[in-house]
């Protein structure tokens, strides 16, 4: 498609998803989100007050105690408020396992170009199986993807 940019990445958890990008400057502990709305509750977090629900979440890494990290993501998942896909810089065992057992596409080792191009609200298609991310120009709505 004209205007699209495709960048390489590395598959951690399989699957394909499209959605709006939400970029976090800070590491994320899913336990400190509101399961009912997906909003980040952690004080002082760069995403405080913003919702991760249905987003393609771009963040440096996970953090925090293993059990609460997994349960935080699980509580979002069973309410349909988990991120559609996750793009990270530094994988950890906790986030990797959670993504696999909850079947959320997760990729890392993304082409640095990606981070230069994207901003909040852009739409991307994360295809973990093909190990690539497609950035869709902003004038196309997410509904037209797939």
């Amino acid at each position: 498609m004209k205007g699209e940019t495709i960048v390489k990445c590395h598959r951690i958890s399989e699957g394909k998803a499209a959605g709006e990008v939400l970029i976090s400057q800070d590491d994320i502990l899913f336990y400190l989100t509101d399961p009912e709305s997906g909003r980040v509750l952690e004080k002082g977090h760069s995403l405080e007050g913003k919702s991760v629900a249905g987003k393609v979440l771009v963040f440096p890494a996970g953090k925090g105690s293993s059990s609460v990290q997994v349960d935080g993501l699980y509580q979002l998942m069973i309410r349909g408020n988990a991120p559609k896909a996750m793009i990270i810089e530094r994988p950890d065992t906790i986030l990797v396992t959670s993504a696999i057992i909850m079947e959320i596409p997760l990729v890392d080792q993304v082409d640095p170009l990606f981070y230069e191009l994207i901003k909040d609200g852009d739409c991307v298609v994360v295809d973990a199986d093909q190990e690539q991310i497609t950035i869709i120009p902003k004038d196309r709505s997410p509904g037209q993807v797939d």
């Binding site: 590491d27 925090g64 293993s66 059990s67 994988p91 065992t93 396992t97």
Partner: protein, 400 residues
């Protein structure tokens, strides 16, 4: 990834569907981190939490016929029989707790229900290959004991217990265990509590394996627990070194494996004061006192008992510890002293459990920033002070 014939058979389902699923997760984790093979594990600790995700996965494995090959120790939930005598526990919460206990017992876990397995019940030796989950546990066994584990999740460690395997990557390999960040501590660490504040300075320390210099000689076991716990509350650190204290760092040079530090960071008294102000509520009246995140050691129970002996507490006080320590407190008279003052020693119980719903909206005092951090999700607010100051506050009903 290379698999032995036996491991391939596990993956193919010869030893049951649970074993196959558990191995699939471990292989996926291993491939993500570039592991070339799986290793046998001799010990596992599962940070089971009695939370829904945890019970969901444990029951899923059980339904698939799962049984642990290496019996793991497990984290606390809450002590239903004790706490239901003193607090109102909802039927749903009680039922979830019972389901969790049942699932783990049937999977073959050792129900230690303690978050300090490295002090008792599951103490590894130097160099032993492990799969341990839990904030304070992984960093302690790597750093202070020199055993080897990655920072596992509840689920990945349970998969390791089922299969007896762990992918070989990360902190199981020599080259990743060396220091990368030199942390020059100019701050004067006067108490075990100051290590909580040092460990909270993760924004300044940044990612990597920190090597702390400038600390007092012979830090206590509690100080080392506090440091590791806090590093993993606000950040993610599988390991730290303290030259001359931790076993893989006889000297500064060996701590870094002969390489130069990637970064040098200085932590001052002002840094500790600033982080303390940031994480603590201002002083004032308190409604309760909560200790034991992670579980209090016997020495800490002794300290509390000495401070409350012959006095009456102004607010409720909860001291969370292992079942062994509670039994030792009973035998040594500490339990009697604390109960006469109006306090509770509770075994098998974590601060981050639904049993504490009556404390929602209240202000407590604790010596644990981790406790304050996680309990904030349950609507509790905390003034954070050292243990002795906390106990004095609980006697007066306020932090001055």
């Amino acid at each position: 990834m290379y698999l032995t014939d036996y491991e391939q058979e596990m993956l193919d389902g010869k030893y049951g569907a649970a074993c196959a699923m558990a191995l699939k997760v471990l292989v996926a984790v291993g491939e993500c981190f570039g592991a070339k093979r799986l290793l046998e594990v001799s010990r596992v600790h599962v940070a089971s939490s009695n939370q829904e995700a945890d019970v969901w996965f444990a029951e899923k494995l059980l339904k698939l016929g799962g049984r642990c090959l290496v019996a793991p120790t497990v984290n606390p939930g809450f002590n239903l029989s004790y706490l239901s005598q003193h607090l109102s526990i909802s039927k749903e919460d009680a039922e979830l707790m019972k389901r969790a206990r049942r699932a783990y017992r049937e999977l073959g876990a050792i129900l230690t229900l303690s978050c300090t397995p490295y002090l008792e019940a599951n103490v590894p030796r130097f160099g032993e290959i492990l799969s341990y989950s839990e904030t304070s546990v992984t960093v302690y066994v790597n750093s202070v004991i020199g055993a080897r584990t990655n920072r596992e999740s509840v689920q990945s460690s349970l998969c390791a217990a089922i299969t007896g395997r762990v992918p070989e990557y990360g902190f199981l390999l020599d080259e990743n265990r060396k220091g990368t960040v030199l942390v020059e501590v100019e701050a004067d660490l006067k108490s075990d509590f100051d290590y909580q504040l040092l460990g909270s300075c993760t924004q300044k320390i940044g990612p990597g394996v920190p090597v702390f210099v400038g600390l007092p000689q012979n830090p206590s076991q509690e100080a080392l627990i506090n440091l590791g716990t806090q590093l993993n509350t606000t950040g993610s650190y599988a390991m730290f070194h303290i030259p001359g204290v931790t076993p893989e760092a006889p000297t500064l040079k060996e701590a870094f494996g002969g390489r130069e530090p990637e970064r040098v960071v200085t932590i001052t008294d002002e840094d500790l004061q600033e982080i303390h102000r940031k994480i603590s509520q201002p002083p004032g009246k308190i409604d309760f006192a909560m200790f034991g995140c992670p579980h209090l050691t016997f020495r800490q129970l002794q300290e509390v008992a000495q401070l409350v002996k012959g006095k009456k507490l102004a607010v409720e006080m909860w001291l969370l510890t292992s079942s062994l320590n509670k039994e030792l407190a009973r035998r040594t008279g500490i339990l009697e002293v604390i109960e006469e003052a109006g306090g509770h020693i509770v075994e098998d119980t974590c601060i981050d459990q639904p049993c504490w719903s009556h404390l929602k909206g209240k202000v407590g005092v604790t010596d644990s920033p981790k406790c304050a951090y996680y309990a904030s999700m349950r609507g509790m607010n905390f003034v954070i002070r050292d243990l002795a100051t906390c106990v004095e506050a609980a006697l007066k009903g306020e932090v001055s």
